[in-house]
Symmetry: C2
Subunit: 383 residues, 2 copies
């Protein structure tokens, strides 16, 4: 089967490398064309900037999109579907935003749309989630979905460095971008959580909807030390839970976990994702959530599934859910320079740390947003 790769960066190059080095893949797959920027065109290596020529080539069955970002990835994926090509992608931003359009267009053209690496990288999370749904309904999903922020927290805990030093390490290692916003403000988790929620509950949730989100930008080493002193580890957890049949609680929060909790032990830039199903109960997956080889591996798993015509268990997004974070009581701890002693249901834990009792996700995040107006270094933790 002939495939084309869009982009030959870290992930796209990884796809080509794995195929080149794997006898069992080379006998099945041929990289017929690679779409690159104009200045990188090289006909002797099948590198072209002429996308139309790829779309017009009937021998090419699968487009492997590794460009990242929204544009031109969105347009190139849509054009691929219209040209009758199957598409696989690792691009969580474009999938989270355009899930509905992609599903529709793929279906119209009777082709496959797969995006295993878009959530949790090398972990076969989407494949397993979809298989579970053949038998069970799923009540909740969630976990550690951003390896960069997990690496940063882990470096603060185990290398005793500051947040800034940990972030710099992550950037030096290529885990974090020069602009780390997507990782440390939770946008990357939000994309992955939207995609997972869509699949788990056959619905359509977009980033920016009513998802409550706190990142780790304001995390300090003193926070880590403070909670470690109480035998708690901090993890950035994204989670979604179905309740009352049609309501969804969905949030992304630095979360306090006992140090001997399994999720609290997931270190380095690993990811951990878990679901809870009717009969299967809890099912957790641990592995590399990013990186050249694991991401390329997951893309190739999707390609092989297309080659083998394995069913994908598509969603149609017809289960209309209301995001409502008002129904679950949760306990939060806030670190701020402000004096919160006058607030109802707030008690001082120690120094700058305040315990919020009797909160819902909604009310706690509302309070936190108010506090951020006056103390933009404040941070809130879910307990």
């Amino acid at each position: 089967m002939n495939i084309a790769i869009l982009g030959l960066g870290i992930v796209g190059g990884g796809v080509k490398d794995i195929i080149d080095k794997s006898p069992r893949l080379k006998e099945k797959l041929n990289v017929a064309s690679i779409w690159v920027r104009k200045e990188k065109v090289d006909a002797t290596q099948n590198k072209t900037n002429d996308y139309q020529s790829i779309l017009d080539n009937d021998d090419i069955k699968v487009i492997v999109e590794t460009l990242g970002g929204i544009h031109p990835a969105y347009e190139m994926i849509m054009d691929a579907f219209k040209a009758g090509k199957n598409v696989v992608t690792a691009n969580k931003a474009v999938v989270a935003k355009y899930m509905e359009e992609f599903i529709y267009e793929a279906k119209q053209n009777n082709v496959s749309f797969r995006f295993e690496p878009s959530v949790a990288g090398g972990i076969p999370w989407i494949q397993n989630l979809k298989r579970v749904l053949r038998i069970d309904d799923v009540q909740s999903i969630g976990g550690i979905l951003n390896g960069t922020s997990n690496f940063i927290i882990d470096a603060i805990v185990n290398q005793h460095v500051s947040f800034d030093e940990a972030l710099k390490q992550a950037q030096d290692l290529g885990y974090a971008e020069a602009d780390p916003t997507a990782d440390i403000d939770g946008y990357d988790v939000e994309n992955k959580l939207c995609i997972s929620t869509d699949l788990a509950f056959n619905t359509l949730v977009k980033p920016g909807d009513a998802i409550k989100k706190v990142g780790i930008r304001n995390l300090l080493k003193e926070d880590v030390d403070f909670f470690l002193g109480r035998n708690m580890n901090i993890k950035l957890i994204g989670q979604a839970r179905l309740y009352n049949q049609d309501k969804l609680a969905i949030s992304i929060e630095p979360t306090l976990l006992p140090v001997d909790n399994t999720i609290a032990t997931v270190n380095g830039n690993l990811n951990y994702v878990q679901l809870t199903g009717d009969t299967i109960g809890p099912l957790g997956f641990l592995g590399q959530g990013a990186g050249r080889k694991p991401t390329a591996n997951a893309l190739l798993q999707d390609v092989v599934d297309i080659l083998e015509s394995n069913p994908y268990y598509d969603i149609d997004g017809s289960h209309h859910l209301v995001i409502d974070n008002n129904n679950f009581s949760a306990e939060y701890i806030l670190r701020t320079e402000l004096d919160l002693s006058e607030l109802q249901d707030v008690s001082n834990l120690e120094g700058k740390y305040w315990r919020l009792a009797n909160q819902t996700i909604e009310s706690a995040h509302m309070l936190y947003q108010e506090i951020l107006q006056r103390d933009n270094k404040a941070i809130m933790f879910r307990q």
Copy 2:
């Protein structure tokens, strides 16, 4: 699709229950016949003791074997293949022992043989392992494969009870049999490790081959407390590692892990299995390794795969591996009433606990077997 269930005990009944309660399964699957003991026959409920009538029924495509044990499970599975039926089973003992015969006979008759729940129960371990092998070679597999022994250790740690009390709890909860030998002496892990090894390395390893095995029968609360005082938790770990292309190190041992190691935190009767692949790196799976619903769920996943004609990625066992536990140096700790101070490479750790240095798996187990001759309550831990 019509299926027949052999046995209507805990797991067989669970299969029927899940189908009955699931609209999405009921529209696809029909339990056409249930094979039961003579005294349970009830024609009004499709319960028969006449296996030949099931084999002769061309409408029945899948035999779901839930009898357990070696006989008559072995004969009934072989007869099913010969009658052109697909077989799914949760029966690790019979699969570990007769893998070669079953694979051969299924192939001869062009039918599917699946056994997802035979290892790690509800965890989709076999499915994921086989998918990984589509792209990667796997270097090692292993983890917590016996929920009963994990429950016992966890109860000693967290409920501060004795081994005997923990075992009694496991029996009262239905986790352990009246004769707990298979669980606490490592035979159950051995079966699961053989099956996983066969699949991971395309080889054929049988229980009783040169696999080095220590169970938890001799574990005492004082052992648990002793190592907890050193921030170590004990887990019964089965593992297999390929080396030098054609050699296999394979062992089952109570293993000392730092309390903040992810595997050390797997509590209750959960299972955790991990593999390491060329490009995917480490990939871990956590879930319920036994129990009515998770096991029945995994059987039904196999049935649905047959219904959907999903590829199984069969093995032929042609990769001949030599089990050789002489090449890896490992450190062990032995607890015995004997004085080992005269032995080479043995030093006293504290009281009855002795540290063995410069060992291979083979030499440590040989020494332990010698010590057991004179102190049958001794126990050895891998560090």
